[in-house]
């Protein structure tokens, strides 16, 4: 009945004496695309592991409604399985062989890898591998997609292509998405809500909403402005003074 799929309440988490997350509150509704951004080591993966239930928080509570699928930072494909076998992991218990084949065919078509069904991951480029990961996570029933820096191992141009690919896939197969990334641009192009984590112990200070149709152009003023604001809130000294004033002048 609830449209709140994920509810994180007063969550803190420590490894030994190191407090990684402090008093994090977060509610995510069905259909939202959330991006969690922050510098390396600030606790993004930890937060995702807590949300997925892989780890239990030191204090606070987390509730989740619906089935989760995880897309990993790198090389989450099983290298001894072909593309089609990897994609089919989530529906391997399906009895109806015809239905299963139809779903697999759809998934391969969706990511445009027709002809690569029998290839192994090591025979694919990084971008193709990540598309297979997405197809695997989107095949079969699921509600929530958790993605841990899914494109961070790719080169810049491939990364931009994959963002558009993800938008297209989600139009076909709507999911609630939590994307963890250190790439602010990626967050601004993809997310409805961006949550910046501060450095350790990480907590949520502000959040930024972006109401703009997707796919979004990387150079859309709303996107570039969001990048600018996020840079300032995450790392105040990171922009040269001239650029700050330059943008301010434009805005006026």
């Amino acid at each position: 009945m609830s449209d709140k799929l994920i509810h994180v309440q007063n969550v803190s988490h420590s490894f030994g004496n190191t407090t990684v997350l402090e008093n994090v509150n977060l509610t995510i509704s069905r259909g939202e695309f959330i991006a969690i951004v922050g510098p390396s080591g600030c606790g993004k993966t930890t937060l995702l592991n807590l949300i997925s239930g892989y780890e239990n928080p030191s204090s606070g509570s987390i509730s989740r409604n619906g089935k989760l699928r995880m897309v990993y930072q790198q090389d989450g494909l099983l290298p001894w399985l072909t593309v089609i076998e990897n994609v089919g992991l989530g529906i391997r218990h399906l009895r109806d062989a015809e239905e299963k084949n139809r779903q697999l065919k759809d998934a391969i078509e969706l990511i445009g890898l027709e002809g690569f069904e029998q290839h192994y991951p090591h025979q694919l480029s990084g971008g193709m591998r990540q598309r297979v990961e997405l197809a695997r996570a989107l095949t079969g029933e699921s509600d929530i997609l958790l993605m841990d820096e899914p494109f961070s191992a790719l080169d810049y141009l491939t990364r931009i292509k994959m963002r558009n690919e993800l938008v297209r896939l989600l139009k076909e197969r709507p999911r609630t998405v939590i994307l963890v990334t250190h790439d602010i641009e990626e967050a601004a192009q993809l997310a409805d809500r961006i949550i910046p984590l501060t450095t350790r112990p990480a907590t949520i200070l502000t959040e930024k909403r972006i109401e703009l149709e997707k796919p979004r152009s990387l150079t859309d003023p709303i996107v570039t402005e969001a990048v600018h604001d996020l840079l300032i809130s995450l790392s105040p000294g990171s922009l040269p003074a001239t650029e700050k004033t330059g943008i301010k002048a434009e805005e006026n």
Binding site: Y54, R69, M70, Y72, D75, G76, L78, P79, W80, L81, L89, G90, R92, H93, Y120, P121, H122
Partner: protein, 257 residues
């Protein structure tokens, strides 16, 4: 993997040229050493080989040696891999057993020859025992290491997609360790082939190792050399056969990075 600067033709011809050079040099040297009971010529060896092959002794010895290697090696594989798996996943078992396994791994299997004869007499059994002692410990250690090298993300993917413990063992652990374990099987199969020759020289009444020892006792150096050549060639063929395992598509990935 890829040799550069050498074309296919050269890759075929260069080894043959070296082989030809070795045989010709061997022949020339044998002309200057008159006694062929000390230094047989390639021609002597060739006729010796025909004699052994014709009498059926060569086939007998070959089968005896291959049987012993197969028996000892497979025994080591079927006991060593499960033990390695168990030690790989159970820190308790690893802590308890690793020092002992390491000790035996570093003890030459040939040191067991006296006991092999004392306990098992002469024939198949002592050779199988020695081969087992040579192959078992390295296989256990390689399997433990392979289990330790499995990236954690594979297990997470397994449980994300609802695999139970048995499915994870069958669908994640086994395929993940296969490339590394196969590499160790190639090494230990080669080791087994070395050991069977030594075992038969001392504790055999047939087999290729016995054949060359017997040839030496009969001062038939031509037969000795022909036996040596057969032993070397079979060793190469065994390795070529095991290399085929690394070409299996679902295993190939392990050698591509």
């Amino acid at each position: 993997m890829h040799q550069t600067g050498i074309n296919r033709f050269q890759r075929r011809v260069l080894p043959l040229a070296v082989l030809l050079f070795v045989i010709i040099s061997w022949y020339i040297i044998s002309l200057f050493v008159p006694s062929n009971s000390v230094f047989p010529s390639p021609v002597d060896v060739f006729f010796g080989f025909l004699e052994e092959a014709g009498s059926g002794r060569l086939a007998n010895d070959l089968i005896a040696s291959l049987f012993r290697v197969t028996a000892g090696f497979f025994l080591a594989v079927f006991l060593g891999i499960p033990l390695g798996l168990w030690m790989g996943v159970q820190p308790f078992a690893r802590a308890a057993l690793l020092p002992t396994i390491n000790f035996f791994r570093n003890l030459s299997p040939l040191a067991w020859i006296p006991f092999a004869i004392l306990w098992f007499g002469i024939g198949d059994a002592p050779a199988v025992f020695l081969i087992f002692m040579a192959a078992f410990f390295p296989i256990v250690l390689a399997t433990i290491a392979a289990v330790g090298n499995i990236p954690a993300v594979y297990f997470r993917v397994g449980s994300d997609y609802g695999m139970n413990r048995w499915e994870i063992l069958k669908n994640i652990t086994f395929p993940a360790i296969a490339p590394q374990v196969i590499t160790s099987l190639r090494v230990t199969a080669g080791l087994s082939w070395l050991v069977v020759v030594a075992a038969e020289m001392i504790a055999g009444n047939d087999g290729l190792g016995f054949a060359i020892w017997d040839a030496r006792n009969g001062l038939r150096m031509d037969l000795l050399v022909s036996g040596m050549i057969v032993i070397g060639l079979i060793g190469v063929i065994l390795d070529r056969v095991l290399v085929q395992l690394t070409e299996i598509p679902s295993i190939r990935w392990g050698y591509e990075r």
